[in-house]
Symmetry: C2
């Protein structure tokens, strides 16, 4: 673990990749653009999955599994959908040694295959709602990839629901957005802005796309989850009609929503530092590591003592480990566990044993202080809670510091240092989130993007009432309040 991490101030992108590789979260694949999720990364994903899956089930959803191969013709049934996904498809042309009659695509998302089955399963309003989710991988051919943040294949969940009424489908869309926000904030310690996407940024095939957006340490935005109200688009494309309560034939209403392994990238980019990974305690596979200070004569006694402390920590539910490896020095271990993002380090040597104290270091702040071993389980639980809270608070404060209300085009361009372009995206880059009024025009938005790479990240749900004034881009009457940013 002697590898050095490039400091954020030198090269933010390289810093990110250094952490992913050195903390052994993921690795490159022999197939360009794909990624290997290594056990340390996958263990974080399993904890993220568990939090979401619990909430999906509590809100009445069931897991299922739909095939990864989709006939090319299915994609074409929804005009916007195929337009959005066609450039990114991986196509299977041969199977079992023979050329296929119709090419199959590896799912880039599963609306089409799922709605082709919903047609078989939905006849009456009594069959509704269908509240299904699946955990799987999807594939979208990407030219420029970055581990976790953008890869050709990635792991995700995709919820797909069918409803009797528009109202019910809209409520579902917003409910799942709420689930995403809650888990992001509570477990990933990511303060997020929940909002609606502009039409230019919405999902191909959606009536409306809602999202949660987080600010990374380089002040860029990262879309951390999306929830789509699909209207009757897929109901019509796949002819999913049902007998309503009034005895009429109606098309089913749809939603879909997803979060992916990209969230691991968001955690890294939000919380980590130049020493390595920093993890929210609730997602850390290992929450505390005991590092014994082993000296020749006292080593067996110290180890036995540490085993006892370990058992006590585990007994209160702390995911603790003991690093008893005698081939490495304590200092080397400190650096390694810092790299790996273990939230608490507990150092115990012969003198600590005598005094009944242990040195405890927090990964988030680097603070180090002696605590009574007798009270260590309670201390550890308290510190883990404090770290969880601190990571969220710190990220929220950072976002606030780097969010600026803008009223005019000049203010907005100045905020982003127009001339510096995307490569100014280091931690010290200018810019952040700009909040401003927007007229709602697609052209106005497109022009900004072309000039500055700044886009409308979302129209925050909590600030759309009573919009007045004029568009900060073109001066026309404003219809929305928008958050602008460069983004991943």
């Amino acid at each position: 673990m002697a590898e050095k991490i490039t400091p954020r101030s030198v090269d933010y992108s390289q810093w990110y990749i250094d952490i992913v590789l050195n903390a052994k979260l993921a690795d490159y694949s022999p197939v360009k653009g794909c990624m290997v999720v290594r056990p340390r990364g996958y263990a974080i994903w399993e904890r993220i999955q568990a939090e979401f899956d619990k909430r999906f089930k509590e809100t009445g959803h069931q897991n299922a599994y739909f095939p990864m191969l989709i006939p090319m013709s299915f994609l074409k049934k929804e005009a916007e959908h195929v337009e959005g996904f066609a450039p990114e498809l991986a196509v299977v042309t041969h199977g079992g040694g023979e050329e296929l009659d119709e090419p199959l695509v590896i799912r880039p998302t599963s609306e089409t295959i799922i709605w082709s089955k919903y047609k078989d399963w939905i006849q009456s309003w009594r069959d509704l709602p269908l509240l299904y989710n699946q955990w799987c991988s999807v594939l979208r051919w990407e030219k420029r990839t970055r581990l976790f943040l953008r890869t050709a294949e990635f792991l995700w969940q995709e919820g797909h629901t069918a409803h009797e009424t528009e109202k019910e489908a809209v409520e579902e869309t917003m409910k799942m957005l709420g689930v995403y926000k809650e888990v992001a904030e509570r477990h990933l310690c990511l303060p997020v802005i929940a909002g609606r996407k502009s039409d230019a940024e919405k999902f191909a095939g959606a009536v409306a796309t809602y999202c949660i957006e987080a600010m990374m340490q380089d002040k860029k935005a990262l879309q951390a989850g999306t929830s789509h109200f699909l209207g009757q688009n897929f109901g019509k494309a796949f002819d999913v009609q049902f007998q309503s309560r009034e005895g009429k034939l109606e098309y089913a209403w749809a939603t879909s929503w997803g979060v992916s392994t990209r969230l691991i990238g968001a955690i890294i980019m939000t919380h980590s530092d130049d020493k390595g990974l920093v993890l929210p305690p609730s997602l850390a596979p290992e929450q505390a590591v005991i590092v014994p200070i082993l000296k020749k004569d006292t080593a067996p006694a110290v180890l036995a003592y540490c085993e006892k402390v370990l058992a006590e920590l585990k007994a209160v539910g702390v995911r603790a480990i003991l690093d008893a490896d005698d081939s490495q020095s304590p200092g080397w271990k400190f650096a390694q566990h810092e790299m790996n993002g273990v939230p608490l380090r507990i150092e115990i040597g012969p003198r600590d044993m005598e005094s009944g104290k242990a040195m405890v270091a927090r990964r988030d702040t680097g603070e180090k202080a002696p605590y009574d071993v007798a009270g260590l389980p309670a201390t550890a639980l308290g510190l883990l809670d404090a770290i969880q809270k601190n990571l969220y608070d710190k990220a929220l404060a950072f976002r606030k510091e780097n969010t600026k209300p803008v009223s005019t085009r000049e203010e907005l361009l100045a905020f982003y240092g127009k001339d510096k372009g995307e490569d100014a995206g280091t931690a010290g880059a200018i810019g952040g989130f700009a909040e401003g009024a927007w007229c709602g025009s697609r052209e106005c938005e497109a022009q900004l993007k072309a000039e500055t790479k700044v886009t409308i990240r979302c129209l925050p749900l909590d600030s759309q009432e009573g919009v007045t004034g004029s568009c900060c881009l073109c001066g026309a009457p404003a219809r929305h309040r928008a958050v602008f940013a460069r983004n991943y």
Copy 2:
């Protein structure tokens, strides 16, 4: 749920499909050979996964995720491996609108891609063992498919481990076989024979394949899990060398092992009956259903009473539901929950409420008896245990009844009613497991298969000592004891 199930005696294959479809466990896909795992089927899979995953972690394994796309050239690095899998590959030739330089295959199994990464991660004996597992889907192009039992895409787990020594790898192979046997017997209620495959039946690329084999109700064998000792085959194919404790360069030793959604097929075929699905209680998503007998005046009181009973059952950990739907009759509901395989049905009407009794019906035996409501939680737990045990015992007794020691070719052929061929595979078919001595000759085995479709399922681990006598097929000196059967 008015659909009829074809009786086993009429058409065993159709009976199986009727259950899969009517209990809504799985459905056909628009892509031939693929399958949709519906929520009721997926919920069983989640419980199976949980049991295995817990044990994998307890035995020191970590989950990871490797890409689904593998360069075609990788498969060719291990000669037997590519020979075995080439005919079943799905090939991606286009990505992102362009033809690929090298075709990629969708993983049929992941030894090759995983060992290509192990090369990067293994330098010294200190890096070993690597004990990794992944849960994913794989794709093997199949001509003749059957839901759960044999489909082109299926869900599975694949463990892939790398070790310092042959001994350690062999131990790992046997340890995981033991895990498979334990979960199959304890949770799936499948009595299985653990054995070694003959060379003709082993995994393409393995030195030795071990398996667990179960007997279905039509007396055919079903391979329920395999554990492979891969020797240094993949270590050499991918040049995975490490510095040994003695300072020498050595190739790493490998194992791989897997179980799949096929296990759901095994559960259905082993336990179910002409009324529908029968599930081991430990895997049943719903273990008990309360069916209230609703009459006009007393309905609200009965429902309230049932809610209380429901809460009491849940409080002791019984996965209970209340079927309060007033649009269906109790009789219709009885049939539906029998179809779905709910282990216990609890009927409560106004008179039961007065007497403090409830009628409880067991799905496995059909037995029905009144029990005190006061003691219902304990009664339910006891009955669920009894069902779990009964399913295993019944399956074991069935296997024993249909297992026959054979000494000569004539005995063996008579047992399988040679002339009737595979289509005699109904529940009443002759045959079953034949136990006999075998010379070990591949020709001798191949001839039997060609003549009768009977194959050597395995060489049971517990009966290989002191083999004497002569081969029941050809009369040559025997080297093994074998179990013969027709199989899925």
